[in-house]
């Protein structure tokens, strides 16, 4: 049955991915006026050769469904169009910027999961007592704070007022960037044995990671709390207590084990909120990642770039959710063994 489960999830994911490209394609169609004039720069439009090549490549003279198939083919070949701003293929741009985003998103994700589970469990155990109320207030504030504004405020406080943090970017200007191996400045510096550069890079990640974590943790905590409350109320937890097990064992072996299943499934969501967060936050920290790329493209109405980013993010997000589902299937014996 596990195989059936995998297959089902796989099929759903493929269908979703096709749907996602369809949405992306329809959005291109929705661009008012000629799609070409929206996607090509003024200069390019003057050149009949470029225009002809463009029409051929995107099948613009064909009926709509053919255009979609052409679009699909191009996308599958990694052709997401050319960014008007940078003049480079959108895919190349993405590949340049993704590692920078991962450098802050991954640590923030880890931190959020650890904190989210710990605080959520704490709140559930303290259900309706002072600790729970405090956590609830905190998470509500976290959820109500605009991410970009929070980024601005921490930058103002830690850089402008206190001067304990760099103003932005990945590395101080006077430090020569390490040779690019993984794309992560911290890791690349460490690989080159340049600990001062690595430390400097870590300091630069601190504030973006902090902001992304705050945003995601609020959501996670609420989710973990309600999942754990449900588990704490379950008969099998009461049964575990009735067996006279120490509280620590009840919490770890019984409550956490069951409560983590929904938490695993929600980590896909946490990932989405992280990605959304980067779009709104990277700009403030001059962090050259996908988020800043998306921000600049959106502000400049660089439609191919914006659609490329959203398609890319949707694909990543869908795949992450697939992985999450698989992890879930592996962890829960009811699915694994049925």
């Amino acid at each position: 049955m596990l195989l059936g489960f995998l297959l089902r999830r796989g099929v759903i994911t493929v269908v979703l991915l096709v749907g996602v490209t369809l949405v992306s394609f329809l959005l291109i169609q929705a661009v008012p006026g000629d799609t070409m004039s929206a996607t090509l720069s003024e200069q390019a439009l003057q050149d009949p050769e470029i225009v002809a090549a463009y029409r051929a490549r995107w099948g613009l003279d064909e009926p709509l469904y053919v255009q979609y198939l052409v679009y699909m083919r191009n996308v599958l070949q990694g052709d997401l169009g050319v960014s008007q701003q940078t003049g480079r293929p959108v895919l190349d741009d993405l590949l340049t910027y993704v590692p920078a985003t991962l450098e802050i998103a991954l640590p923030a994700m880890l931190l959020s999961l650890v904190l989210g589970v710990a605080i959520g469990l704490y709140a559930a155990v303290k259900h309706d007592r002072a600790g729970d109320h405090a956590v609830r207030a905190g998470t509500l504030i976290g959820l109500s704070t605009p991410p970009f504004w929070l980024a601005l405020v921490v930058l103002y406080v830690f850089f402008y007022l206190l001067g304990v943090s760099p103003s932005g970017g990945r590395l101080s200007t006077w430090i020569v960037p390490p040779e690019r191996v993984t794309g992560s400045v911290v890791i690349d510096s460490a690989l080159a044995g340049r600990w001062d550069a690595a430390w400097d890079a870590i300091q630069h990640t601190a504030l973006p990671v902090l902001v992304l974590t705050v945003l995601t943790v609020a959501m996670l905590v609420r989710f973990v709390r309600s999942a754990m409350l449900e588990v704490l109320d379950a008969d099998y937890v009461r049964a575990a207590r009735a067996k006279g097990l120490p509280t620590s064992r009840v919490l770890t072996a019984h409550v956490l084990r069951a409560g983590l299943v929904p938490v695993i499934t929600v980590s896909g969501l946490a990932f989405a909120s992280m990605l959304s967060g980067t779009v709104l936050v990277e700009q403030i920290f001059s962090w050259p990642g996908v988020g800043q790329y998306a921000f600049r493209s959106a502000s400049a109405l660089d439609v191919p770039a914006v659609l490329g980013v959203s398609l890319f993010v949707a694909v990543v997000y869908t795949v992450v959710n697939l992985l999450v589902d698989l992890a879930y299937g592996l962890i829960d014996p009811r699915i694994r063994l049925s």
């Binding site: 379950a234 009461r238 006279g244 097990l245 072996a253 069951a258």
Partner: protein
């Protein structure tokens, strides 16, 4: 005969001043099976929960529940966390109303039977598993060795209930509280479980507080019985006396409403 448990004027108020148990007094003689009957919502399960300190958060209790199965007599309603962990599972064990819900879906049967043995009896992993095999054998689970490695969802409803009973008996408790352990089962399985409880009582001197809806079960198994209604004991005494010469109006209607034999064929619930 000595009373291993005496409840005196137990009352329970839940959060929000909801008084669910008004006044309950009840005695369990050592080595006997005592029954509790009563309609749904009459407070049977909450009484059991009170005895193990498992009432919902912010419940308030009054009265006493004298427990004489330990080193010295203690009032169960006043125990602290530390003493609880010695009483629960070790001296008093419980079988819950719904075995499917009471077994952890993600822990193997082996873990769920052995974990408290290792805490209470300080058994090694090996010894605990050996004892678990004996227990499963005792409750007639086929192929106990393999069962230890299985998860609850791989068993049928009746087998899950027997696993839960095996887990409850693991540390040789003095008192077993069984909350409708057979309600969801078909008649043959039910008879097997009742026989098992009677055997254990006869062999090991286990005392049982048996909660049920079913007057036939009450008659077959228990010597003493209490009838609950709306959080009070409305009638009590020797089971036969109570069933054949009910004094209280309510008990009379209960006895009259008793299902006939052919109402009994509830199919055993299908295991998923």
């Amino acid at each position: 005969m000595s009373q291993i448990l005496s409840i005196e004027n137990l009352a329970v108020t839940l959060q929000g001043d909801q008084r669910v148990i008004e006044d309950i007094s009840l005695e369990v003689p050592e080595g006997e099976i005592v029954g509790i009957a009563g309609e749904s919502g009459s407070g049977k399960s909450l009484t059991a929960a009170a005895l193990l300190g498992l009432l919902p958060d912010r419940s308030q209790t009054s009265g006493h529940a004298w427990w004489r199965g330990g080193a010295e007599p203690r009032d169960l309603l006043t125990l602290d966390q530390r003493s609880w962990n010695r009483v629960r599972g070790r001296e008093i064990a419980m079988v819950f109303q719904d075995a499917t819900a009471a077994l952890h879906p993600m822990l193997t049967v082996g873990t769920q039977i052995t974990e408290h043995m290792r805490v209470h009896l300080q058994l090694s992993r090996r010894d605990a598993r050996r004892r678990a095999v004996e227990l499963l054998d005792r409750v007639r689970i086929p192929d106990p060795e393999a069962s230890l490695r299985s998860y609850p969802h791989q068993f049928s409803g009746g087998m899950r209930q027997r696993v839960a009973i095996a887990a409850a008996l693991a540390c040789q408790p003095r008192l077993l509280i069984a909350d409708e352990p057979t309600t969801a089962l078909d008649v043959t399985v039910q008879a097997g479980i009742l026989r098992l409880l009677e055997e254990l009582r006869a062999e090991t001197g286990l005392s049982v507080l048996f909660i049920t809806h079913d007057l036939a079960v009450l008659a077959a198994l228990t010597t003493q019985a209490y009838v609950f209604r709306e959080g009070r004991v409305i009638e009590s005494g020797a089971t036969e006396e109570l069933l054949f010469h009910p004094r209280h109006e309510y008990t009379k209607t209960l006895v009259a409403a008793r299902p006939q034999a052919d109402d009994w064929d509830e199919p055993e619930q299908v295991a998923r």
